[in-house]
Subunit: 439 residues, 4 copies
């Protein structure tokens, strides 16, 4: 078939949208390996043509932003039924001085977002941090999990199975072996057990190098659980994911155990640095308000703890961590649905005896990768490259940890700035308005 | 100055990154109104040049995806320090038959994401729904909020102020008037009061037409609170946002009161439709497993409720709502940080006496807009257009409600598919692997 | 039958344990009204005899503590199958200076508990408060609730029913009338609606005077819901209690809306008062540590907010409120199962500019009564009498509010003491040990 | 001094309330060891006299219920400032057939409470269970915890200290040794570490035999932490209890790890047993409604999970577990403040293929003891004796586990009954009313 024939059949519904790549590759490009990318592009064009015709509209920008979203080696595409790209405005903030174990030096942070004032505020936070000598940022835990529901005949069977797994004997070893069979760098580091009556959840815990690891963890957990099911035919797999993982939900279990990277940050901000950066001026340029460390300390208490406690949250003891997480995730090809739990954060602000402010953020579950997922697509790759952490690290996991440290540092800049701004008074509103686009 | 001079000064640090637009517009384009867009583009190029030089790297794709992220009328840019665009692969799913109050008919849903198998699964969910006659999707609440902390001298003052606001007398009216002063379509519909000792939080509740409304709500709340502070000089504004809003955090208060749009969906799936769509076959193509409504019902119980309860969540009683929310938000220029709370969801699955499955999703706080924010940028606009809900509705709020109904319906397709897939056995793992890109 | 015959038949199983009162009253006491109490006592003795014989053990103390747990007028007993009384050691603390709206003056607080050091610590807290001029304690909300699940045919029916109730028209009025029919002082003050797909929960909100009101609320809600079910035969009562009440569970909904009495307290503690009361001495009686307001402030932050946030709680942002709640509830005949939610509490500690400590506790849902329930039993009645708030107030609800203010004040004494003690160092352990009974 | 002199001085305020025992013992009883009990009794009488005189009221019942609340060997009293006893009406329910590992056979359950209908309902639940062959009840975890806050100089110090503890080397061993020094049966079984920035919480986990163990855990943790503080002088003890224990608060951490005893129960209820026990009759005695296992299953879903999820809870996925916990705790001398977290419970109801109902309750943190605390006081001791589990078990911990199994079984009876009753319709209201005392 020619491309015209294919289009014709497709528009008539005789070819399905998801079949286009394979048919075009076979019929138009004669299965020439180097043409797989062209076949994908052609398929994308046919689909956008179809939508335009069907809906009587034009989608010129979408089609314009098609990047090479396909893999020649594996003859796959990024996702199914691609029609192009969704573009999020991309700016940058910084430089931000980071003192991590892996991220050391000054960094420019790519931030994809649509919120006027976000980057301006970020930059003010960077100033505060830089003038304080930089922010310490460290990864304290590293793991990826999948929790599987096993249904057993009785509470006794469930209990015995937990005991069996917990003693880390033969069953554990065989499951570990099966789990790690296909993984090059991934390791099973624990299997946590949770019994609820005749069901148990086995929460498989992996370290997956520089990849975010959710897909690997799923696959490896499936392999591990097969060993168990073969050995105990009376046990039944109820669901390969039982929501104790917990993926893409705000949960306390991720706070307790961590998931992805747990990051902790710290910066000691001298009184003068704070004062200088958060002054409120009147129209004559006269300073009418300066903030002090104590103001930040009390707003952290009233808003981030007391307010959040009254709002009813398990993960949101912070000012606005999600903004920074979302902007970096969108820039770097991370799984955007994981913004949900990766934004879990606990701020701390404490005035020290010398008058300085100790400030830091605890992020228990930042789920990120520098290989796999969307990290290798054109702009994502460049953004990771901008941070010096695209791809696999020299040691497995090194790049992902560096990336996590950068995220922790960036979040810290944004948090200190928002708290400082709130302490200044009603500036939150006015800064938003002043900078907003409002086309 | 010529553009070369400006670049030179910028690279030397004599011009700041954020000043570029204005200087170029003034010096290079001589303040010609129609050249504002070119000035912005020039500024973006200089910044990306700067980053390339500074870091010794190339960012060709980022610069390639610059869209016209500026507004000529207001001489503003989307965000500060733009360097181009971050591209997320964009596919589409559907058609999905929706029976809403505003969204009526078959829809193609744009989904921006990096997760192989997501759209394939979505389409299977659409099949299930379409073969069941479509999904009902309605908006049951509509509001946007900002909660402000007021510090009062004592618990008695705080109590009296709450009483004063609650009685909806003069103070309330004056605050309402101030709040609505600048809004064209926005209305203040309530002020909720929460006392914690000598502090109170005033949670201003607005309806903001077709815009998501967070920025407006902030501005209007600031105006309202000024009235209060002038009237009661002993009261003090502690923070313009007190985390009981609650913005970009997973909270129970948003479940109770709703925020953005509350959406409820419902589809009655006949036994045969379910069976047909979720069969597990062996290598010979023989059916080895068919699922039944009861399987979905029990997985919804074990995973979405029992599992989530044990995981410790307030908002995550669902399988994977965040995936769909994130994919639609990224496609349509929504605030990606609001994926956090917009993903709050409660699934329900119940086998009816006739053997069918009643399935639905309750989304208490989907925070979306069809005007403002990132909705007018090139690809976002086209994606909203694809859904027939770009811009302001004929009646204020109509388009946003239509969009919310579509989101509810799309989420329902994805949820029913994931639960069906899990019920089939270990397919979650294998489908991920089969379709993954793995460049 | 004689009492011997009855005993004989009872031991043989021919008479059931719960039938004893009626049979003895009829056969032995010939239905003489004034002998109902004796019949109850006789029945109680037979039951304890039965248990002793059955188990081969002696229960002399239990039988000794039989109080007159029966009502002659209504021929009822406190609970079914009474065998006597369970005795909890009862001490008292105070005097505690309270500045409430109803509780004004110095109070001795009855505290029933088994925890050595609790009263000693309580008294130290009273000292701190008294030396600071007393504690302000006020009731800010008053309500009792029952939430009923109604199942409707569809999400649209559920939505319409919510709208119907919310508009407070005819249906609301009729339900209100039915609810209040049998109540003398109880008033229906609101019906809150919560939709989850095709179910709704109607949360009936009552004010019930001086009684705790849970039983009344249940009965009145049942009456109200009958009106609805008759009017809308397609609606179905799924459960008369749907857990959004929320009774005897720790929930955030009770924090948001209050249940029972919401109490707020406040005391300004001068620096010197704090120092004097919390000194750590070495064996020579030399002061080795004095605490300052700042210590309390920081422990409140690190323990009550940061620690509790990490522990995963919605209601437990305090040091040990449950101790005081339990001790007063046990002394005064309250429903001990309601200790669960009545212990919900949020502490606040803030150093003021003058160096004093502002300290207070917010208790959103203290569920108590001074009439009904166990309040009229012998020791309970005396304990309420000790506080000057037994029985119905002159104005309905006045006594219950007075009682709630006392509880708030007592909790405040206990909290400030525990935080002060913790700030002193490891005294928590040693004070427990020094005073423990350890028979 | 004579007793009259002492009374005189006490009433004048020259002797403090808490000093009475010692002075009377010394002056009146001349320190004769066997008279310690009399001295205590005398002191109690003087105090009640004082209160009567001070308040102008009579407290005859309180004084009447004085039991021998003192220990001769250690010259201590149960609590400070005893004036007598608070009596809670005590009934019993059962027999209940329990199939535990330690509790095997039929049990009569002592229930101290003030709620009419509670025991009647409990008995109906026992019938259901007995007719189903009894309930399986097992303890799956056993531990008591105290979590201590250590403040360190920096996030790095905090991280290193966590690592040091986690590696279970020398520091761990020395702390374990110090912790166990004074304990006869108690063992330190784990030290969990939680870092939040520059603070860490060390959650010491003990097994404490048959005692509830909170006081021991505190003392032992204090001893352990002293080792650490001596070794690392730069670390600072911030609070000996940091709310991650978590004692007397409803928390998710206790659900995840358990505290006290974790109990799981299971009963398979045949269709006919359920039908027979939950019939609704009209006034002519005709059956108008019978319930089926499916009704229980759906109410468990709509009320205990969906309703509780919407109410915002972490621990209350059950119908009314607190009632039973409170009634048994009050009867048996447990710490009544621990009703708060001991009531955490997750019900499960599932219709099996043969039409029976699998029903069970998971109680993650039942904190109880059979020695120590209030267990040895007169009526408490007899109630424990009634259950055959007073005092230390033959093997340490055996009696406490037996007791926990009984509690789990009793809770199960109460839960199945409440769900069955709710399924019958509006009986909750009417049964309460029919049986209520209403003096």
């Amino acid at each position: 078939m020619s491309i015209e024939n294919i289009k014709d059949k497709f528009l008539k519904g005789e070819i399905k949208a998801y079949e286009l790549e394979d048919i075009i590759f076979r019929d138009v490009h004669k299965c020439k390996k180097e043409d797989w990318g062209n076949a994908c592009k052609d398929a994308s064009v046919l689909r956008i043509d179809f939508l335009e015709q069907k809906l009587g509209k034009k989608f010129n920008h979408i089609r314009k932003h098609y990047d090479d979203f396909c893999s020649i080696d594996k003859k796959t595409t990024a996702i199914e039924q691609i029609i192009g790209g969704a573009v999020v405005p991309l700016g940058f903030g910084g430089p931000l001085k980071i003192k991590g174990n892996h991220a050391i030096g000054e960094f420019y942070i790519p931030l994809a977002n649509c919120e006027a004032a976000l980057i301006a505020g970020f930059n003010r936070g960077c100033n505060v941090i830089n003038e304080s000598g930089g922010v310490r940022s460290i990864v304290t835990k590293d793991s990826m999990t999948r929790s599987v529901i096993i249904e057993t005949p009785s509470i006794d069977d469930a209990f015995k199975l937990c005991e069996e797994v917990n003693k880390k004997g033969e069953l554990y070893d065989e499951m570990k072996k099966a789990a790690e069979r296909e993984g090059k760098v991934s390791k099973l580091v624990d299997i946590q057990t949770f019994q609820i009556l005749n069901e148990i959840q086995l929460r498989y815990v992996f370290q997956t190098g520089d990849s975010m690891g959710m897909n690997s963890a799923t696959k490896y957990a499936a392999n591990a659980v097969k060993v168990l099911l073969e050995k105990y035919p009376e046990m039944k797999l109820k669901a390969l994911s039982g929501n104790m993982c917990a993926d893409k939900k705000s949960t306390h279990i991720n706070v307790i155990f961590g998931r992805g990277k747990s990051v902790q940050t710290e910066v000691i901000i001298p009184l003068e640095v704070l004062k200088k950066n958060y002054q409120l001026m009147n129209e004559n340029g006269e300073i009418i308000k300066e903030i002090e460390p104590r103001d930040i300390e009390r707003i952290n208490y009233s808003k981030n703890y007391q307010g959040s406690a009254l709002a009813g949250t398990l993960t949101g003891f912070n000012a606005n961590v999600a903004n920074t997480i979302a902007a970096i995730f969108a820039a770097t090809g991370q799984d955007l649905a994981q913004i949900v739990e990766s934004s879990s954060a606990f701020d701390k602000a404490e005035v020290l005896k010398n008058g300085s402010l100790r400030f830091g953020v605890f992020l228990p579950c930042v789920e990120i990768g520098t290989v796999g997922g969307g990290t290798s697509y054109a702009t994502a790759k460049e953004c990771l490259d901008m941070l010096g952490c695209y791809g696999a690290g020299k040691k497995p996991g090194e790049n992902a940890k560096k990336f996590a440290e950068i995220i922790g540092a960036a979040v810290t800049a944004q948090e200190i700035n928002l708290l400082g701004t709130l302490a200044c008074g009603d500036e939150l509103a006015s800064s938003h308005i002043r900078l907003a686009r409002g086309k």
